[in-house]
Symmetry: C2
Subunit: 168 residues, 2 copies
Amino acid sequence: MTQDIVEQLGHLALGSRFKRIGEQLQAQAQVLLDAEGLGLPASHFPLLAALDRLGPLSVGEIAEAVGVSQPGITRQLVRLEIEGLVKSQRLSGDRRRRPIMLTVAGSLLVTRARKSAWAKIETAVAGICEELDGPLLNQLAALEQQLKHSSLAARVASKTRDRRHARA
Amino acid sequence: MTQDIVEQLGHLALGSRFKRIGEQLQAQAQVLLDAEGLGLPASHFPLLAALDRLGPLSVGEIAEAVGVSQPGITRQLVRLEIEGLVKSQRLSGDRRRRPIMLTVAGSLLVTRARKSAWAKIETAVAGICEELDGPLLNQLAALEQQLKHSSLAARVASKTRDRRHARA
DNA sequence: ATATAATACATTACGTGTTATATAAATAGA
DNA sequence: TCTATTTATATAACACGTAATGTATTATAT
């Protein structure tokens, strides 16, 4: 097996490595979201969570809250509006601003997600992180290894089995 | 200031957060690479480092070593070949494989990068990580804060000043 | 009042990742 | 040997981030 250069490069390629880990995590979270029938990319949920927690926000405020560029948010909003999960009215004082709010469907989706997939993802990821301790690079190595060894979905599944056994 | 939802979501949005941190790190590393006149995106350097360390590799081997999909590597190779940093010959036994190797220019670039920008990036990032300890999320929070507070470039600059002072 | 600057958002163009699939070469089985 | 499968790479289509720029709208200064 060829070696993992990005890992070997250590601090030098830390950016590549973070992106790589992030993509893995998101991809595995996506599996859980899809399984729950939440028909959205994982990347869009922070936006929904922001509106859910903070109430109506302008485009720029969302961008700041989510830590994504404003064009990125605008694009996410196009999709979320098409799916009827958010709406906007441009009628307040400053007509440049476009306040966004969750629709009823959007609120319901957030509630549903929170009870189902979000809880599972949260638990699975927390489970991975639980054991991590010490220097960052070691933690990342352990994290990657765990992700490779058993996916978030697998963790959720085995967790479910555990619970069944416990109940039995 | 609107709050940072991704941070607040904790383990739930860890994927988004890793990607975000990775992008920041890469963007800041890019500044240092550009300053050094290395005319390449930061993301391409792991590929060059792989060839430098491991010698000629096929496309698939590079993909494995770098941890990026094979189509991603093929695209990077197109650019690197155009810039004359790598070359390939398809003449060995198995004519499906396309062994890639550094050109002389490529080797020189790696050497130059290693002595200049890479060393700086390595030092700057290691400097950030030095202080990190404890649970992962705390470390990430500290990491993000540090990145926000002073960029890699700024760290390099102040390091250089330190050295000047030390010499004086 | 009116020209100028700043702000909020949309659009464009681009980089880079992914999956799915096409193609060519090697290998295996009949 | 001829067909089927596997393997290595290329290509296509798409997701999603960015920076740069356009376009209204609002604020400021003369």
